[in-house]
Symmetry: C2
Subunit: 420 residues, 2 copies
């Protein structure tokens, strides 16, 4: 962070002109008051942009939010955890739209100015009887400064809440970016999701915001993997309301570059924190590939290594197993010349020119035993580079994900059935 | 098996005109006499065909055998377990060629008439000091009827040996097909491999044999998955020596069809037995997809379900989790209309039209608790079909694969180093 932005306290309401509130509606556990619903709203008109799961099975709120974001005119985001509202058919879409409408009416906004997100169990309808009465409370409670409660309300199997904020200067005025996020990929036994909400008080056009979000997501959330599964609900939504009073940011300007840099930092920090807090994860592993024929090839190789069950098992066991790494590179689909492959583990050469390097196994083992280390791979064929952030795979992960049957049975008992 | 073939006793030397022998050379464990080298040879000239791993990192014996099989003139197969001879550079290829040359000289064959296969740890050279002296013993011991010892010698983490033989009639004469196989995919902590050797005493042209093998492999070994990893050493090699005396099989004839059917059966039985004996596997799961826009789409959907860590975890936990199944279908890349997806588990509807079916969870759970069951998926979009054979993923699998470090250290101590 030698650049023009610096970390500040707070999260999604650190930028000016945003309010937030969170409540417990018993979506996660009926009767319990654990926070599971939250609302973020801008005091003034703003522009919104988002990126969503590419899974062909999309949850109802994803479909509704995509439609609401089409013209970039968004001012509020409603989110619940505990139920994904996915595979819920026509009723799911109606429920999501109804939530947006009620919140919109209470805030004096159009229904289409309210985005909706859900995370939780798939295939059960939202418990609207418990959700609807809470919408009034959410809107009524909107106060400045409760970003942390939003970060807490969206947690599912996360062990800690995740938020961040930075400030930077645009034309002599301070602008801020704030964010909160939860659980990466399908890491949750209740079929969870990656969610990230970002706010800024900078002034941006809708087109520019889309570009900025697209680049930042491409460098962060699109480069993390825990179990290789892609959720039905993944969503990143960003709002920009201009409330800082700073001049508008123009494409190609110095303002633009520094803002992009700051936004990339915010999203990458959130993305990394999701991997570190992945289910039963003990290691954070950065997989860097360079020297590939193309960036596309580098991506294939990095993703194959980062997603290989056997490679991830070996990291869990502190095993500096370069043989498993090169075998994953080999089946990745990237152009590979075996005799050109170099693999470094924690900075130490493990494999040079496709052959075992002259290195102490114990020294390599020490590197893999660290909480965080890098695997650097050079294919020595071209200039393609790519980085993926991954984790180990533990017996505890499998055990944790063996069954959500008990949860499902309980949900049925609690009335979270089709008839609700 | 209502067709024209029937199962008979024996394995890879059940067909006429083949001999085999196996010895313990201390490749797996120096000093131990566990079988780890085997030789299969035809008494008379024959044709050979093979299919090999598509991993770009190919073990030395794979490269050597591919070259030897180019003209189809193969008469013997030498195999060792305990060391994959992969990532061993120029020396690895020289070692593999030397083995083929020594065996060829002893049998009065050209070096190129001997195929070579290895399975075991990656990155360490073959212990030639222990292997070379055993080649004489292998050739000297060739006797009819030791197919089982070959099946045993190629085992690594397999818990039981795998062999099969069938007989069928061609023009009133009996012909036989025999086979043995070992460990599927990268299922072994020592970086193992899928190997399958098939023999027949039918008379076939090289071109026809290639066709037959290609179809049978496509319907069997290419449809199994345990951990989604692809080895550097996977090999299927088949020999046909005509020693039955039956008339030659012609393309498009009734003989051809019945022989293909019998060969498909042999390879599918071997492939299924690999899944059932996968590392720490407790369930055999057949994933059938139909109604896809194309066979390619059906394959994508079936493979996504069969390889999803979360789906496989749920099977291990007896959890009839259709939500995880539909999410994997959704990200498979196949064209999918959520509202058209039907999922049956063990014959019971779990999801109809993308929504939860009206079914007892306990009844579904009973089906998933079986040792073997089927997932039938209908995308209701077209006529594309595909089947993949899969297994569950257990905490014990991860634990089993956490580290081969101890093995590696021992291998180093035993002198299996670059300097050998």
């Amino acid at each position: 962070m030698a650049s023009g932005y610096r970390k500040i306290k707070g999260g999604v309401v650190a930028p000016r002109g945003y309010k937030a509130y969170a409540v417990g509606a018993g979506v996660k556990t009926p009767g319990a008051d654990r926070l599971d619903m939250a609302l973020i709203a801008s005091d003034v008109d703003c522009v919104g942009a988002g990126t969503f799961t590419t899974n062909r099975v999309k949850a109802a709120p994803v479909r509704v939010s995509q439609a609401h974001l089409r013209d970039g005119d968004l001012r509020a985001i409603l989110v619940n955890s505990g139920n994904a509202n996915a595979c819920t058919g026509v009723k799911g879409v109606e429920d999501a739209r109804l939530c947006a409408k009620v919140v919109g009416d209470l805030l004096g906004l159009k229904q289409s100015q309210v985005g909706v997100c859900s995370t939780g169990v798939i295939g059960l309808p939202l418990p609207m009887v418990r959700i609807e009465p809470k919408l009034h409370e959410l809107v009524g409670g909107l106060v400045r400064g409760s970003g942390t409660s939003v970060a807490q309300a969206i947690m599912t199997s996360d062990t800690r809440h995740k938020e961040i904020a930075v400030s930077l200067e645009v034309g002599g005025e301070r602008v801020r970016i704030g964010a909160c996020a939860k659980g990466a990929g399908m890491i949750n036994p209740y079929m969870a999701t990656m969610l990230c909400f970002v706010t800024t008080d900078a002034r941006l056009s809708h087109g520019l915001l889309k570009e900025l979000v697209s680049e930042a997501v491409g460098l962060s959330f699109n480069r993390i993997t825990i179990d290789g599964d892609m959720s039905t609900n993944d969503s990143v939504i960003m709002l920009a309301n201009g409330a800082s009073g700073a001049r508008g940011i123009k494409r190609g300007s110095a303002d633009f570059r520094i803002f992009q840099e700051a936004l990339n930092y915010v999203m990458l920090e959130m993305a990394k924190s999701l991997v570190c807090d992945g289910e039963r994860v003990t290691k954070f592993v950065t997989v860097n590939v360079k020297g590939a024929k193309s960036e596309r090839d580098a991506k294939k190789a990095a993703e194959a290594v980062a997603n290989s069950s056997l490679v991830k098992c070996s990291w869990n066991g502190n095993d500096p197993n370069w043989g498993r790494i090169i075998h994953a590179i080999g089946y990745s689909g990237a152009v590979v010349k075996e005799e050109g492959v170099d693999i470094f583990i924690g900075g130490l050469a493990a494999c040079l020119g496709g052959l075992e390097a002259d290195v102490s196994m114990d020294a390599l083992r020490e590197r893999v035993a660290c909480d965080a280390f890098a695997i650097d791979i050079n294919l020595n064929l071209g200039v393609g580079e790519y980085t993926v952030y991954s984790s180990d795979l533990s017996p505890e992960y499998v055990d944790f994900n063996r069954s959500e049957y008990a949860y499902w049975k309980q949900a049925k008992k609690d009335g979270l059935t089709k008839s609700v």
